[in-house]
Symmetry: D2
Subunit: 308 residues, 4 copies
């Protein structure tokens, strides 16, 4: 099997290899300039802060289908331990084991490869067990503060939650954009709301996983045209499952991460944000979503916050 | 052994139990109002972003002295794995095991207890291996975006790095405040720079650990008087080591976390921020330092960012 | 709720506290004398070796119902890494994270407590996050080589696998004993086969877990009367689920581990052994089932082997 | 750099590829026949059991030099937890994270590769992060019970502990053999004692690691000639450090594991065994050293026991 011609056609159109130099490791994050940040800051009116991360816990969103992508396992190594003797101040310490892509997270550009290649034309073999990703590890993506725009596709379509089989198209994104009254522009971080995460929040992990709405293979071109810096949504896989085109698995990962060099986020809880944006009648805000700098990591948990 | 009378005197003066109600779990974070956030946003001028987290890696700051507080161990469970068959899009996945207090982190209010008690008068026994901290887990502290103020004590004293035995006093904080031209006020997150982290950055983990400057037992009263929301610094333990008062270990932890209910941060890299603040001649900025919401966690890695 | 009088009656009859001194930490393992080992060795005729551990892997027997008892997660930190330069000999290294009670395992005597007490009258509070079990950690149980006897209850009852609701009684054990032609005696390690593990081997983890046959609350007295050194079986929980007596959960754990001080093993694969014993017409053999000496561990994975 | 001609000469002489068929995954373990096991059992006289594993704990033998090879980290997820309600039987559960090669362990045949090849002519690329070792994972080596022979080189040379620079030669092995009065033969598991582990037992981890005595590059031919099934010793690396031949790192790993297909063990504590063998005047015994069956593992912790 190899990737179909249709995929390669799109790939050519959205490819950013070399755009920021042969040495570039951060792709579209280059589009978040200081000016973009100033404009992001200028969107803040009320100071209301909306956290977007799911609680980190063992019964998180992972169902066990993805081998090794384990929910956070929280254990204790000290509980009220009087390390300096009886009657002294006591400390508690915890240890966590988790998949870097298991919870609310960013995929690093190196989370996906295709045809043996990673973003900016680097060989897939530059990822090793020894050092992780030699290039474009998540530790390189250290400045993710920008203007956030919520494209509330579920609301724009008048539903609480998109159907499992729904591929979010460029037309959906533009309908949501119209709802916001804010045109997506260069350097924005776009949050696409499908409402799918309601299944998980209601306690049904399996229904959250599958079937799932997600971003259509047609969306990367739209993000490319708008020069978006990063995109996150409220689904497990980012893409629709089962896939849009038979036997074409994860094409959006390959286009966004490998070809464009654009960060993707998954399992972002956009419900409270949707309510807040609806109440305030505006969908642009200051977004801080700093990766934990795992050296060579191909992903990272993230605790994003929108400031309205 | 029990804590000395001098400790209990200070404890009485800084105690915030009940101040925000018997049910409160977040302490001084209550002081970060929406208005404070708006003022924080108003400090931004250039849009320059300074990340404050150390790289997450196995040769991190922990020396092995703190039992179980392990540096991040990064392993791979998938490397360019074509999960859907040969020639399909490939994925890489990572797993991390780490102490929640091992890297650049926040201590939750429950990281310390004394005399069998936690913040807001809860029994120490409410922390269990089963669920972690029943109250005041780090997952409760979900809105840490505020005005940040760098109190650059090293610069105010005209040195690159404070001596190992230096206890940072209220007078030091005020001298640094004067340098900034900004008075610390209610809801601020204060970052205290000692320069100590230079030892780690230069490759000497042991020298970073000990001896170390740190915050004097006299500082909690100053933070309390100013109604500071949270404090972080650039040392391993926050406090000076060896301790200021013989056999009185971790008094500042007990006062800040247990009595005041004020978050503490450690291992924050304030070097680049110090340079930037010096260049721009201002020491107040927008700070986003969102905890990863580990349910019941007594701490969390954090990837803070200052926006100038 | 507290434990019923019926439980306490049995407890009194099987209690071994003080039997091997106030300092004893290994309980009935004291019954494995060198003489017992010599007799165990004398049972060997063919030299055939039967391993009894299930494969260690992420889709192991744990279903996720027991909080934190995670199946083995196997990750790589080195894959063919030429640590000393290109062209040198390469190495591969792995890391595992797992619950000590998750796979084929021994429960340490301290895995259970009741009424605040552990084996030999020690307070439950001697188990801490800091050091694990101060007394009777699994690292103390370092000589588990003895005569093994397979009590093949399923075969004795003429079924492939006992029903989910079946409590294995002393009468069942004696019927199986009769089948073996070998009387269980002091120092033996008894393996009780229910056939339940066939469900897991056939791919049905849920059916393996529940409902399950298991050892009746009446069996501890039988093991006590025979001075058995340790008992293992081929179920997830050792006991029947749902429980024999309404609302009396895990009574056998409390009797075997806390009162008698007798090691319990679970998830032992006795299928191949059953076949071999049937073929050879004898059910006693040399058994080696050495615990991994986790300091303070309340359990351990084990790779037992029967030598026939 | 590539491996020198001298290496390849030896490699040719000890190579066992194809000897047990193209599909073989266990190499010299094939030499442990049922007859060998019966002879092993026949060596037992007193029934005395000597465990050979070091305690599993965070301050184990690893110094941090080997990236990712972490000492066992023991944490708690349940401590006396009354899972079924107050007053019910309580349970304690532990979680461990550790390098499979970190403690007393077996190297799987796939722990080493050279020139892109693994044992029996398989490509190194058959080890992946996804599944570990596709061939010759440690889970395949499930019958390690045989005759053990202690070759007490330190005693034979009349020293408590060999010097750091001492390469154990075939002549050393034969001198030790003479001491035992037992000729090593096909299927034996040979334990080579240098005494080096005394450094670790005395609390000096660094001195244990380096400089270290170890097996000379000349020993694989001797083991091959005797058709030994497996070899373990009491050092961190098995081989001498610094290496015998300049810039030739880990040649014995490549010869034993890759060429011969012979299991290697490290960090075995042979001190108590040495004393016991000296007291009893015999150096052959029944050895059980069953690998934990980690699927695809390139190593495993092991809790070996010698029965005298």
């Amino acid at each position: 099997m190899s990737l179909p011609a249709a995929f390669h056609d799109i790939a050519k159109r959205v490819n950013n290899w070399g755009r920021w130099g042969a040495d570039d490791e951060i792709g579209t994050l280059n589009l978040i300039t200081d000016e973009v940040v100033r404009e992001a800051v200028a969107t803040v009116r009320t100071g209301r802060r909306i956290p977007l991360a799911l609680p980190m816990k063992q019964d998180g969103v992972q169902t066990g289908v993805m081998p090794g992508r384990v929910n956070p396992l929280h254990t204790m190594v000290q509980i009220n331990q009087e390390l300096f003797g009886p009657g002294t101040v006591a400390c508690s310490d915890d240890v966590v084991t988790m998949g870097l892509q298991a919870a609310t997270h960013w995929d690093a550009l190196t989370h996906a490869s295709h045809s043996g290649m990673l973003y900016n034309g680097r060989p897939a073999g530059t990822i090793t067990a020894h050092g992780g990703a030699e290039f474009s590890g998540i530790d390189k993506a250290r400045h993710v503060v920008s203007r956030g725009v919520l494209l509330d596709v579920a609301r724009a379509r008048g539903v609480a939650r998109l159907d499992g089989g729904h591929a979010v198209t460029p037309e959906d994104l533009e309908a949501a954009e119209e709802l916001t009254g804010t045109r997506v522009r260069a350097g924005d971080v776009v949050l696409v709301r499908t409402g799918q995460i309601q299944a998980y929040l209601a306690g049904d992990r399996e229904a959250y996983a599958y079937p799932s709405p997600g971003l259509s293979v047609r969306t990367p071109e739209w993000f490319h045209a708008r020069d978006v810096a990063a995109v996150a949504n409220d689904t497990l896989t980012f893409e629709i499952f089962p896939p849009e085109i038979e036997d074409l698995w994860l094409p959006v990962h390959a286009l966004d991460l490998v070809e464009m060099g654009m960060l993707q986020g998954q399992n972002w809880n956009l419900e409270e944000l949707s309510t807040a944006c609806g109440e305030e009648g505006r969908y642009a805000f200051l977004l801080s979503a700093m990766p934990e700098p795992f050296v060579g990591g191909t992903g990272t948990p993230v605790a994003p916050v929108a400031v309205l």
